[in-house]
């Protein structure tokens, strides 16, 4: 019976997919003068809540702090982050318009995917949580929570949340910082942090983060609880 139900669900999902992609016969003749309409050029790849595609993972944009999204747009445009499709697409847009688009995605309140079950043993995850919540003073590693918020859901206006993201995406970003593929505005503290962590630590931390359920309030914290432990270019906007 359960199998039947699962099959029915799968069938319904499959049937719905092509329908969603079909032109909407009832679409209004006039193109709506909204940011949502304009943002369709973005959600083609990113989807509503992020999307995995054959050429890579397109992260979720909905609900991330506006300043963070805006800074990433500038980073792509100005070459601090490197993805040709993205940089080319936004190259002819003004700062003001990019800010508007960032604000649009920041204002979206969409559900998050369920957490991914970690595969590591409990002691390793506990050590990862220790690093995430308290850092490692001896290695001058600040706690993730110092900037990304006590609940790890990010901090307004420029620090993104670390929950509700896939392990692959988190590993991908930390790896890109280590290899110099991804940069933030100088001083680029995340590059320093990613390079100071070992591969094993990164693996454990992303396992922990991707395994956390979203807290009841998934919104970014309104402000840093205390002055940032490092001077980071990405904190300005």
């Amino acid at each position: 019976m359960a199998v039947m139900r699962r099959l029915a669900c799968l069938l319904a999902a499959l049937l719905c997919l092509p329908v969603a992609a079909q032109p909407d016969a009832a679409a209004p003749r006039v193109v709506p003068d909204t940011l949502a309409q304009r943002a369709l050029a973005c959600t083609g790849c990113h989807g509503k809540e992020g999307r995995a595609a054959p050429d890579g993972y397109y992260p979720r944009l909905a609900g991330k702090p506006a300043g963070y999204l805006y800074n990433q747009l500038l980073n792509f445009r100005d070459g601090r982050r490197d993805y040709g499709l993205m940089s080319e697409l936004i190259a002819p847009l003004s700062d003001a318009y990019l800010k508007e688009l960032a604000g649009h995605f920041a204002s979206l309140d969409l559900p998050y995917p369920p957490p991914q079950g970690p595969t590591l043993a409990a002691p390793e995850l506990a050590r990862a949580e220790q690093l995430i919540r308290h850092g490692d003073a001896a290695r001058r590693l600040p706690a993730c929570t110092a900037c990304h918020g006590e609940r790890l859901t990010g901090t307004q206006p420029t620090v993104p949340g670390l929950l509700g993201l896939s392990r692959d995406y988190l590993n991908g970003q930390l790896g890109a910082w280590r290899s110099g593929q991804r940069h933030a505005q100088a001083p680029d503290c995340m590059a320093g942090i990613a390079k100071a962590l070992t591969a094993a630590e990164i693996n454990a931390m992303t396992q922990f983060l991707a395994g956390q359920p979203m807290p009841a309030d998934a919104h970014p914290a309104p402000a840093l609880a205390a002055p940032a432990p490092l001077r980071c270019g990405g904190l300005t906007q």
Binding site: D24, V31, L40, A53
Partner: protein
């Protein structure tokens, strides 16, 4: 055998000798046009720098304005733009005469010939007065230290001497220094438009039809061609079926040059960059002059390559893809969709030149990589098209493009998978 070798060596020696003689000749070019006596206007210099879009090439992505370092893809390798700011690594200490020599003769202060990635056939047309205004304005810009990055060109241009010899030979074939000479049969506005379009605005740098040596038929060569390394075609400005504007209204063309968007025509790719960096800055009189000039260019049909074999099944496949991915925005009949001001928010594909141009390069590129119209003060919040690169493979791109080029009353050549792959390779080559 030995004799053949002797002949070959002699020939090679002769070639080097000729090239050295050409180099000596080209480096020895001189011009004694005196500096202008009129007071130099910084405001004028700033305006001219914008019209010429100097910052477009002389600014690296995300780098300091005018400090150079931007890679310029050419068929011969990658050239890197130079630093125009008044730093020791740039134009510090350059006199107005030095700057004039660079702009007018294409010779740097150190006596080196500039590589033709810098559009010398265009900048030589600029008057001394305008060159002096540009020089004065550049000399008061913030100085940025950014040493010249060596060009990465292919043999025989992979050394400083090799580059200089090759540039000398190229110049002997393609470069004749001389300020723009007005055509007496035309009125002042036309001549102003020609002076700007052929000169500082250097339209032919992209829109010329180049031969295999990268040479063209001069600064009024607008036959169009593929921009290697960029993957875009700069379509012919002489052919109304390509990008010729002879049959456009003056109002439409002026709006398009200023806003990058008019009556469903959208400036795309490198041209969006040109609108943002150059034509949007034209003042009313110059905008009218450029429009007047471009609208009176002679009409000349662009060469159309032999079409690939039609394939009904491929077109049918394309029609299905169109219904699935495109019709929601571009309309079932390719009619486009308008916003509430009545402007086409999503351009009509029926009758679109971009769809039916001789080369499908720009069409394929837009489907693959999407795009926005430039955000200009007159059109600040354009709608956009998402990239389909991750959704459609080369077969599907060929099918969709073939469908578009044969539907809505179009009769343009179909596109096969090989052509899609060939265009991709051209985009990657530099």
């Amino acid at each position: 055998m030995k004799r053949l070798l002797t002949v070959l060596v002699a020939l090679a020696g002769l070639l080097v000798g000729v090239a050295l003689a050409l180099l000596a000749w080209q480096r020895g070019l001189s011009d004694h046009t005196p500096a202008s006596t009129a007071p130099v206007s910084l405001e004028r210099g700033a305006y001219l720098a914008a019209v010429g879009n100097c910052a477009g090439c002389h600014t690296a992505r995300g780098g300091a304005r005018l400090a150079g370092g931007r890679p310029i893809p050419t068929p011969f390798g990658t050239a890197f733009s130079s630093n125009l700011t008044p730093d020791a690594s740039g134009l510090a200490g350059w006199s107005a005469d030095d700057f004039w020599r660079a702009l007018h003769l294409g010779i740097g202060r150190d006596g080196r010939l500039l590589v033709p990635a810098h559009p010398i056939t265009n900048t030589t047309l600029v008057t001394r007065e305008d060159a002096d205004a540009l020089h004065a304005w550049l000399q008061v810009q913030p100085a940025v230290s950014a040493p010249r990055r060596a060009h990465e060109l292919r043999w025989p241009m992979d050394s400083e001497l090799g580059t200089q010899l090759a540039v000398a030979a190229w110049r002997a074939l393609h470069f004749r220094p001389g300020v723009y000479q007005p055509e007496p049969a035309r009125d002042a506005a036309w001549n102003r438009g020609a002076y700007l379009s052929q000169g500082l605005a250097h339209c032919s740098a992209c829109h010329a039809g180049r031969n295999t040596l990268g040479g063209d038929n001069g600064p009024a060569d607008f036959r169009g061609g593929l921009l290697l390394g960029l993957g875009w075609v700069a379509p012919s400005l002489l052919d109304p079926a390509e990008a010729g504007v002879q049959r456009w209204s003056d109002t439409t063309l002026q709006r398009w040059l200023r806003d990058g968007h008019a009556d469903g025509y959208i400036a795309q790719g490198p041209m969006a960059e040109v609108v943002l960096g150059s034509t949007a800055a034209l003042d009313d009189a110059d905008l009218a002059a450029v429009s007047h000039y471009l609208r009176t260019l002679p009409e000349q049909a662009a060469a159309r390559p032999a079409p690939v074999r039609p394939d009904a099944r491929r077109r049918e496949h394309g029609a299905g893809l169109y219904r699935e991915h495109c019709a929601a925005c571009h309309g079932a009949k390719g009619e486009g969709r308008r916003d509430d001001s009545g402007e086409l928010a999503y351009p009509a594909l029926a009758g679109s030149r971009l769809v039916t141009q001789a080369s499908p390069a720009n069409l394929i590129r837009l489907i693959e990589r999407g795009g926005f119209a430039p955000a200009t003060p007159g059109h600040p919040r354009p709608y956009g098209m998402p990239p389909f690169a991750g959704l459609l493979d080369a077969d599907e791109l060929a099918a969709l493009a073939s469908h578009l080029r044969q539907s809505f009353g179009h009769h343009a050549g179909e596109v096969d998978t090989v052509e899609v792959l060939r265009l991709r390779a051209a985009a990657a080559r530099h």
